[in-house]
Symmetry: C2
Subunit: 110 residues, 2 copies
């Protein structure tokens, strides 16, 4: 790791950003997952409709069932949401713990 070499004329650092490896990858993944309008809409819907099933989202979004399912997988893998099987359906909720972690990390960083 290189030493810092900030001349006195440069602005002060506004914050620290000590995150690396696994954690950083997880954080980048979460950013990436929400960097898509459809997935952001899904998150919005889940806020107001916690526990809704995939088909609710398929009705809500202007996209095919396969596409919505794929977006849900991305959000699941990134840790934004959690799905529980209920009979033939899957009920989705926000993953509160991971969301809290994300908020916390963003707060630490910026």
């Amino acid at each position: 790791m290189k030493e810092l070499d900030i001349t006195p004329t440069l602005p002060e650092a506004c914050c620290t950003l000590d995150i690396t490896g696994q954690e950083q990858q997880q954080l980048v993944n979460m950013f990436k997952a929400l960097g898509n309008p459809s997935r952001f809409e899904i998150m919005k819907y889940l806020v107001t409709h916690p526990g809704c099933i995939t088909d609710d989202l398929v009705q809500f979004l202007p996209q095919a069932q396969a596409t919505v399912s794929q977006h849900l997988k991305v959000l699941r893998d990134a840790g934004w949401i959690v799905g529980t099987t209920k009979g033939p359906a899957t009920s989705y909720c926000l993953h509160d713990d991971n969301i809290a972690w994300f908020r916390e990390k963003v707060g630490d960083i910026f």
Copy 2:
């Protein structure tokens, strides 16, 4: 807009998420921009090296000058950073106002 139809057995909404149109697009853009390892590294570098120039980042990152410049453009367009011309060089800093806005929005949402 459809009426909510949350049965009493479903979990309560953990939060509100009232963001639309222009603001939402801006927020999604910011998420998307940081959803890339190289750009996240650039942000980390800028935290500890505020005011550094493009070439500093080119030396730091394992990528070609053109690639780094492209990543900087994405971060600029998304509003994460701001660049000021200093002679033949460009000095970069975090865009504190926009970052504060992002933090605030994420806080509102989750």
